[in-house]
Symmetry: C2
Subunit: 499 residues, 2 copies
Amino acid sequence: MDQKLHRLKEILTEISDLRYSSAVLGWDQQTYMPPGGAEARGNQLALLHRLAHEMSTTSEMGKLLDDLKPFAATLDPDSDDARLVKVTARAYEKATRVPTKYVVEFAQATTLGQQAWMEARAASNFSIFQPHLEKIVALRQEYASYFPNFEHPYDALLDDYEPGMKTAEVKEIFDGLRPKQVELIKAIASKPKVDDSFLHRPFDEKKQWDFGVEIISQFGYDWNRGREDKAAHPFTIEFGINDVRITTRVDPSFLNSMLFGTMHECGHALYGLGATPELERTGLEGGASLGVHESQSRLWENLVGRSMPMWEHFYPRLQEVFPQLSGISLDKFYKGINKVQPSFIRVEADEATYNLHIMLRLEIEIAMLEGKVAVKDLPALWNAKMKEYLGVTPPNDAKGVLQDIHWSSGMIGYFPTYALGNLISAQLWEKINQEIPDLPVQIRSGKFDALLGWLRNNIHRHGAKFEPQELVQKITGSKIDPAAYVSYLTRKFGEIYGL
Amino acid sequence: MDQKLHRLKEILTEISDLRYSSAVLGWDQQTYMPPGGAEARGNQLALLHRLAHEMSTTSEMGKLLDDLKPFAATLDPDSDDARLVKVTARAYEKATRVPTKYVVEFAQATTLGQQAWMEARAASNFSIFQPHLEKIVALRQEYASYFPNFEHPYDALLDDYEPGMKTAEVKEIFDGLRPKQVELIKAIASKPKVDDSFLHRPFDEKKQWDFGVEIISQFGYDWNRGREDKAAHPFTIEFGINDVRITTRVDPSFLNSMLFGTMHECGHALYGLGATPELERTGLEGGASLGVHESQSRLWENLVGRSMPMWEHFYPRLQEVFPQLSGISLDKFYKGINKVQPSFIRVEADEATYNLHIMLRLEIEIAMLEGKVAVKDLPALWNAKMKEYLGVTPPNDAKGVLQDIHWSSGMIGYFPTYALGNLISAQLWEKINQEIPDLPVQIRSGKFDALLGWLRNNIHRHGAKFEPQELVQKITGSKIDPAAYVSYLTRKFGEIYGL
């Protein structure tokens, strides 16, 4: 068995190296590649993806896994080796159930879909995108049909991003959350608006960049094992557990983009840098799920980054860098960066309204997949739900149903992970504050090492060994639950808005 | 046959995409990669190289080539398809003659060799490097032994960089050149020294960078299909024929590094960007040889970049950017950038002395490969030849026999390509000036399009279709010959030094 396990790891090492190679090409594509390089880069990435897929689905791999499964069952179920066999077998089974013909058709449909979506958004004309989305939805339904063991077709999609998570669970979580968030937003709307005009002023780009670097250096981001570059759509990317890079964007006339975007990506990166070396190049060194990953980015961006202790420490320094803030009190600054304002665009949403953007998308995705809503009716449905949940109606489809790239890339089932990340971050935050009772004091004095140590020990080091529900249960004693997030929002915004 | 040719091209496309993927990883390694990423990057590159090697040496490839060779013989020998079969078959035969065991051993020896060389150079202690170089020389002798058809063992090595070139030819060329260059340098040494102290002053780094960009933009470098980044050891790299990037370094207290380094790399890049699209992803879109590549970089760096017409155009602008040059006349500037000064370091050598650095290395390489000189005797031999050819003796081995990385990487046979590039550049320059008689006038008014057009049409578009001697013969009517270079040097430095 040792030999078979060794051979399995050998294959996984190569798959991992190929995937990291693709990641380097993808990073360059989004940061430095000149426009002329686009076509060739598409070919290069397609080849590396195909090779990685081929290596992951050989009959040798299937045979090894079949032989190793009974052996793994004799091991401690939480051991690296048992988990390795389990996670690899899962991925193998998913990958081999889908016919190559489907994979090719899906790649073509989403390539065309992304082009059509870009045009449609630029023209704010949904009908350009409609036939493509119809095709993509049909293909995602077909994909789900290859996994008849799932209760609900949406389960098969969700499972690609949140291993083991069921649609019914997500629905239940969100059903508990929705009325409370809607109620909170209504209460906030009845109060006087917060002034954040001082954040919408010119801020020197270089100084913004340097300040972001200063913050995340203090958070514990290791510049020997990462770097930061500019990108139009910021992201974090891993080339191994010792090279995890972030990207950010700087808005010269709004401080928040750089400030909270940088902390957000740093949160992702700290997760990637924290996997235990034993998991390197096994495919298990990545995060447990997109939702758990998002819990890390949101924790640093919001629970830490938009907190009062954070700015008790950093605000004097920020005022030093930007003397134009010298007339703005800490309290006014804190309220400004936490302003609640229902708006059209998800990626610009504040903490109190963000999840409602997700719920709307989740409901539409499930209905599309069940065939209960036709693609042509999406714009009207979108606007109706925006009115119902957020009290606003998008002026056009570009700021409504066409705002996100996800569906055009076939990523149906992805959105809920953002909201799950928010919920998990609050659950973790409660636990962390129990275990590190003086955490606010530490943050107030710019110390983040105990926090990072806790996250490393409880989350980061495990990589993808555990499913998200398992991991949250292990750490907090309960599964993913909206109570902590609701109580966090209510307390925080109750204070800010005097509810 | 059409089907077989199609299949061959299909395989070559994948090999090409894999090689370009490696190139992206290599570029990042030398420009942006944080130190922590080094180990993983080594693994990733090793895998991509191995996969490309495997794809290049399959029995399917061998069979296809065997079947296609008689067919190719019926085609116009200069047609793309005939050349494709010829060049691919050559590469296949070279790659399959070398046992995998050798490839692995060579990779290990050169990895260790490079580490030892870095230590040895830092300590200026040849004995640290000596056993590694002994091993590498023995391995290169073994490599040559796999090609018994070559007349001379050095032929097999040279042929990897200059396809079709023979040691005897290179020796003959250099034997004709050496006495004339030595004589010229002696004549220059008897004259008063040129003052270039004004180039060794502080020059703002950002302004230097921008000036380099300005020059190569005017040369015709296409920023939509390339970019420039900083690197400790500047290089040019291709990720396809529409993404050819350069790197440069900026010395804050010496203008020449950035100025001529940038033009040099631009010359390489213009070659890479100029291949005809039909050759893309065939393996024939690269240059004909390292020597021909170097002819392009040297042509833009020296024949254009260190010429009087160039600075008649650019010098007023340079003075505008750097007002500290306002007291320096054009004539004084021109002489300064063309100062001849025998020195220890090849990469810092001027046009008149450069080739002598190469000849010394070539003679040592041949003698090592023939077993006529022992590695332990290299430092003394090096210093004796430096004295003989350049009249100077290195103060230590770091500035002598240990200065170049090449041998530690197993690159024996590479050095002559630099000198061949110089010779070819002068031959081309004569021909170009015959065909574009007003070229100096064009350059004086900042026009480079006719020159670039000529290079594209005569050299760039052919990619690697022709062997270097063939190509030079086609264009100039004679093979590589030192006469043009000697006459160029004599005329130019005769004027500058009043010989």
